[in-house]
Symmetry: D3
Subunit: 140 residues, 6 copies
C-alpha cells in the first residue's frame, strides 16, 4: 500500500461536557497539527498517489471553516464534544466526501483509505483511519 | 479505527548478551521515549477512545518501576535481553492487563488493540502492535 | 555559558483586539509548547545549572493557573493582547521572580538569564530572553 | 507485530514530466529523510526483529548509489517520474531483495513486511508498506 | 530580547565547486526547511514583534524565486557556491532589505536583528544571525 | 554570525552522587542526542563555516570513546557527576582542542565559538556555548 501525507494546522477554542474531562470542561483551546494521509494500492500514471499540492488544498479547504473559531459555536457541532478523536473522524469524513466526488484529481475508487492524525501537543495525538466509502462513519 | 496516543519516557541502563550486539554487550544505557496508542472501533459516549489523562497515568504507572533502573538487575528480566523490541512487547502486555481489567476507564472489550513505540534515538525506534487479549503474547 | 531547558505545555483560549490580527480577533485557542531555559556562567557543586526536576516543577507551577483557561477572563491580563510574544515575557517574569527568591534550588545571583520559548504550531514560535533582574521587564 | 525502524537520508536532484507537477517540472531537488521499518511476528533468539546496526547498513547501501545524484540521469529510472511515492516503492523492493536473500542477519521468511517512509519536508511525506515477496511489486 | 520565528521550505537543485565538497560536487539537491526569526527589544502596541502572518508572507516572497529551481542557473548566484551557509546569509539580506524599507508592518528601526536557519536534513543545519543594517553583509 | 550544526548521539550508563538527584543516584542511563554548532564571523573561500562532513567526523571521533560506556568507569570522569550539563562542557572542550589545532579544515582562529547541545529526552536538554580559547573552561 502506498500513501502520501500532508500537514496543516488549526487554532481553535472549545469546551467539553462531562466530568471525565476535569479542568477541560472549561472553555480552553488547542492548536491541532493535522496530518492527512491518502492510501492507494497503486500509483497513477504520473507516479503519485494523488498530487501533493492538491492534497494540501483539499485539507486546507476543510480546515478553513474551523480555523480561528470557537467550536462550541459551530452549528454542525451543536451538542457534540469536539474532542481530538471526534475531529479526526470529522475531517476524515469531509476528505472522504471530496475523494468520493473525484475531487482529489484521481478517481475516488482508486483511493483505498484516508488517515487523519491530530497532534494536540508534543505528548498527545489521535487519529482515525478508514475507507472512504459512505458507510465509513468516521464522523459519526 | 480510532486511536489516541500519549508520550512519556524512561532513562535506563542495561547490557546485552550475544556477539550480535557488538559494543552494546557492555553496560550502557538509553532514554526511551515511549508512545502508547490505544485503538478502538468507535468512540465512547464522551467522544473519546479513552480519557487522555487516564492514558498518561496508566503509562506512567507501568514505566515507574523501570525508570532510573539498571534493567540487568530487574528480577522480571533475569536472563532476558531487554532490547528496545522486547520492551515494546513488555509494556504492551502490561497495558493490556490494565485494559482487560477495565482499568482504562472504559470496558476492555471496547479496546481493540494497543501499539507501543519506543524511540531510542533520532535515528532508531521499535514498536509492538497487537490485540489486548491474554493470548497476545506481546511480552513473551 | 551553560544552559538547561525543560518543556511543558498549556492549552488556552483567547482573542485579540486590533485589525492587525484579522481572523484571530475572534475567540480561538492554542496549544503552547513551552520551553524554559536557565542560563548560568558555571555549574554548581553538583555539576548542574539547576536541578532539572526543580526546573520542571517551577515551570509547571507557573503554567498551572493558565492551563485550560480562557485568557480573556484572567484578571492579570485585562485589556492585554495575550499574544505568543507577550506570554513569553510574562512567563519569563514569573520564572525570574522565583529565581530572584532563590526558589530554583540555587542562589538567584548565580542564574544569569532565562529564555522562554512558546511554539504555537509546527511553523511558528516566539521567545523572550533576558536577565532575571527586577528591571528586566520581560512581562511588561 | 513487532517492528524496528532506522533513519538515513539522501540529497538528490530530479525533474518531473506531466503538467500535474506545475513548477516541479523544472529541475529541482530534495532531501529525503528515509525511514525503513522491518516488521516480524516474533523476535529472534537475541530478542530483536533484526540487528539495528545491520538495518542501518542495509539501508545505507541501497541509498548510496542515489545520494548526491541527479536522478534524471540514473539509468534504472529512465523515463520514470522519480516521485517521493515511486522512491518509497523502489527502496522497498531493494530492501526486500536483501531480506529474501537472508541478507539482514535473519531468515527472510521471518520478516513479514517492510515499510519505507520518505519525508520530503516538514509538511509532506510518503510511504510504501508491503510484504517482501517477489510478487510485492513495490518498485514497479 | 523578544523574537518571533516562522517556518517555510524550498526544494532546489545545485552543485558545488571545490574538492572539499567530494560527491556534492555533482548536481544534487536539497529540501531546505527555513526558519526566519525577527528579534526586537520591545513589543509594539499590538503586543507583537511583527505580525506573524506578515512574517510568513515576507519569507514566502523571498523564497518563491528560489523554489523548484536549479540554483546553478540563477543569475544572482553565478560563480557562487550556494551552500547552506551562503543561503542563510542571502535570505537574511533579503529579509533585512524588507525590514529596512518598513515592509514588515513595523518601522525597521524597531527590528533589532534577524536570524535565518536552514535545516538541510535531520542531522545538519546552518544559520546566520545579524543586525538588519545595510552594513550587515549577511549575503556577501 | 554564521553557524553550521551537525547531530550525532551516544547511549551511556551512569549514576549521580548527591541527594539532589533523587532516584537518578542509582545506576541508570541515557541516550544523548548531540548537536555541535560551529560559529564564525565569515565564510571561507568555499562558502562554508567548516565542511559539514568534517564536522560530523570530528564530533563522531570525540563521542566514540563515550558511546556504549558506563561513564562511572571512564577514568577521565573519576569523581565527577557526568550530568548532561557537564558533558556539554566536556565535548565543547574536546571540539575546541581540535579547532585550536586547525583540525576542522579551517584555521582555528577563524572559528569564533562552539555550542554543544545534549538532548536527553523530548522534554529536557542542556547546552554549553563559548569561545574555543584554551581559557574557555567549558569542560572544567
Amino acid at each position: 500500500m502506498f500513501a502520501v501525507e500532508v500537514r496543516d494546522h488549526i487554532m481553535i477554542a472549545h469546551s467539553f461536557a462531562g466530568s471525565l474531562f476535569g479542568p477541560a470542561q472549561a472553555l480552553h483551546g488547542a492548536t491541532f497539527v493535522v496530518d492527512a494521509a491518502f492510501l492507494a494500492r497503486s500509483l497513477d500514471a504520473n507516479g503519485v498517489v494523488i498530487d501533493i499540492g492538491r492534497a494540501h488544498e483539499a485539507l486546507k479547504a476543510i480546515l478553513a471553516p474551523l480555523n480561528y473559531r470557537n467550536l462550541d459555536e459551530v452549528e454542525a457541532f451543536a451538542g457534540i464534544n469536539t474532542t481530538t478523536e471526534f475531529l479526526t473522524g470529522y475531517i476524515h469524513e469531509k476528505l472522504s466526501e471530496v475523494a468520493r466526488a473525484d475531487g482529489l484529481g484521481r478517481p475516488g475508487a482508486e483511493i483505498d483509505r484516508i488517515r487523519v492524525t491530530l497532534s494536540e501537543s508534543h505528548v498527545a495525538r489521535a487519529w482515525y483511519e478508514g475507507p472512504i466509502g459512505a458507510e465509513s462513519g468516521g464522523g459519526k
